[in-house]
Symmetry: C2
Subunit: 357 residues, 2 copies
DNA sequence: TTGAAAGCGCTAACAT
DNA sequence: ATGTTAGCGCTTTCAA
């Protein structure tokens, strides 16, 4: 029989003097640690008599016992952690997604380990490595670069967030096509016909998807697709947005509205317009993408496409949890609806039918 | 002798089929796992012959061995993780701090576990509990509420970030007093005399510290401290900033400038001004605090006090690491310099010597 | 300098 | 329904 039938030394801490351990609880109740373990775990509680179950839970509570998750992980080889790889936490796009991820993970007892790559391949490798050492049970990645194989070598499951790859990796994305459609239609309704596109980097899936959507929708609406109406940014940044619009203006495409790859690029467009003495929206309308935090606070408040960031994080985490549980991925990718938010950066083109610079 | 003298079965994986283990490496080299452990760990490498050291490191690299940090943690009772408690990740104040924390932690092999409290006491308890279960080796807390005792029960060390308590807990903060001083002097130089204060919540240390600094500096400069020049917000939010300024205007204090508790509140002030048909800075100058991301993009670009967010995170993490190593805390709190950034939300008061509403 | 043995705290297979 | 046994992978005395 287990040695602790008669017990309770001073302060219920028969063993050492560290934190409470399962043995301590078991000894207090006069049972075997394994039984205590069964009583304390939801999934095995039914293996134990109701009476002992309550006695154990009670004792654990009284003694302030908290299970050692490290020991549990070692035994079960599950860390109950998920690695979340982000290009840049300071981009306001991501915090709401992180919140969504945490909200989905917490009820399942999982914790997110957040890591920034800083848009740097080298740093990306090192953070992934660091998290791999921590034995994460799964990955959520929002890093930008296509075709990376950081995770694929037979590691734990991966879900992509706000991006897709070409190998059918499970992914949760916003409806880029729908957002662009609404944007073009909004501009057309205002009277715009020549609509320029300051595209994001084409190596990033959202960049290429949105550009493809622009091409498709413009074509479908019978609008001009002149090459001088499109310029590409090398990254989703203000600087690249500013540069792209500057090039568009220099190309003389004679447009009355410009759609930017995302909100940061739209902000860059604002800068270029200011530099050139052009007004938004009077001279040129600007539309962003993402409806990031504070998009309504800029000058002028930005018309942009809202994608449900929080829900995207939520769904990505749920999808990942399902895979960790062994589910095979269902519909893929999961596409969440986009919604145009009209603010003050778009208006009917000026009477003169074009801008001057 | 250890059983693995003759070894190397297929694929160097004599043991099961999971990931490489220390035993596998040892077996490959023909030594005892303990020796391999010593060879692989920086701090014990000197206990082992240079020859074996290289052979082991070599083998480990070739075999793609990565140590199981869970097992290591169980043995050493150190998780090499730090819990970071934030009120709200979506507040642009925090991502740069998080980056600073990560930058300090990574070289030491530590990982940050980020948790949001959402400004909610209940949620705070639950996230702290969740991280406690993960056996974090230390805490960094930027949560707002004073006098909370979430951590104090003899747990691992705690460093406060961007806040202080009254018990001398190690803390890293910005120089609120210096920032306010520069702000007041800037406004005075522009010609302002009646300067209102839309204060942050006084239960939060930054809120009360900045308000106290306002009182002290105004007094020192011989400026009016009329009660109708001060209103308090219940939180550091746009809504509360808007409300505070509305109340100030209604109180008729006849001021020409308003200092806000932080940038978010300053943004709220913008809203109220717009609602009342007042212009910034022509009618009323506005100053924020923090120089958060995009403060330069608002309408008008916000004059505000920059505090070194990244460095604050860095220093907090360094301080924490030192304590984890057993160091006793040195100078406390660590106060990092603030710097007024003048943009376009401040200007000389209008000729008429006051605002009208 | 290396090997042997023990054990961190927990859970799971097996036995009763 | 409960106890026994073993072991997750590692580090750390202790001995040789």
């Amino acid at each position: 029989m287990y040695d602790g039938a008669a017990m309770v030394r001073a302060a219920d801490r028969p063993s050492g003097n560290g934190p409470m351990t399962l043995r301590d609880v078991a000894r207090r109740v006069g049972i075997h640690p394994a039984t205590a373990s069964r009583a304390l775990n939801e999934s095995t509680r039914h293996l134990v008599s109701a009476a002992t179950a309550t006695r154990v839970t009670e004792a654990a509570r009284e003694m302030g016992y908290t299970p050692n998750s490290i020991a549990r992980s070692l035994k079960t080889s599950r860390s109950l952690t998920v690695g979340v790889i982000l290009p840049d936490l300071t981009n306001p796009l991501f915090p709401p997604m992180v919140r969504g991820i945490e909200d989905a993970l917490a009820p399942a007892g999982f914790t997110a380990l957040i890591a920034n790559t800083d848009n740097d391949q080298v740093r990306a490798r090192s953070v992934v490595q660091a998290l791999r050492l921590r034995q994460v049970d799964g990955w959520i990645s929002a890093v930008a670069t296509l075709h990376d194989h950081l995770f694929t070598d037979a590691g734990p499951p991966l879900v992509l967030l706000n991006r897709q790859d070409e190998e059918g990796t499970p992914a949760v994305v916003g409806d880029d096509r729908g957002g662009i459609e609404q944007t073009v239609d909004h501009l057309v309704e205002l009277g715009h016909r020549r609509i320029a596109y300051a595209a994001g980097p084409q190596a990033i899936s959202t960049g290429s998807a949105r550009y493809a959507a622009y091409v498709a929708v413009m074509t479908a609406r019978g609008l001009s697709l002149d090459p001088e109406l499109v310029r590409f940014g090398a990254s989703f940044s203000e600087r690249q947005g500013a540069r792209a619009l500057a090039e568009l203006l220099d190309a003389g495409g004679d447009f009355t509205a410009v759609m930017a790859g995302n909100d940061l690029m739209a902000l860059g467009c604002y800068e270029t317009l200011a530099e050139r003495g052009l007004r938004c929206p009077e001279d040129i309308s600007v539309v962003g993408f993402n409806d990031m935090h504070f998009a309504d606070k800029f000058a002028p408040p930005l018309t942009t496409v809202r994608i449900p960031h929080h829900e995207m994080g939520l769904r990505a985490a749920q999808q990942l949890l399902a895979q960790i549980e062994g589910a095979t991925s269902g519909v893929n990718p999961i596409v969440l609806p986009a919604q145009l938010v009209v603010r003050s950066s778009t208006a009917a083109p000026s009477r003169r039918g074009g801008r001057r610079h």
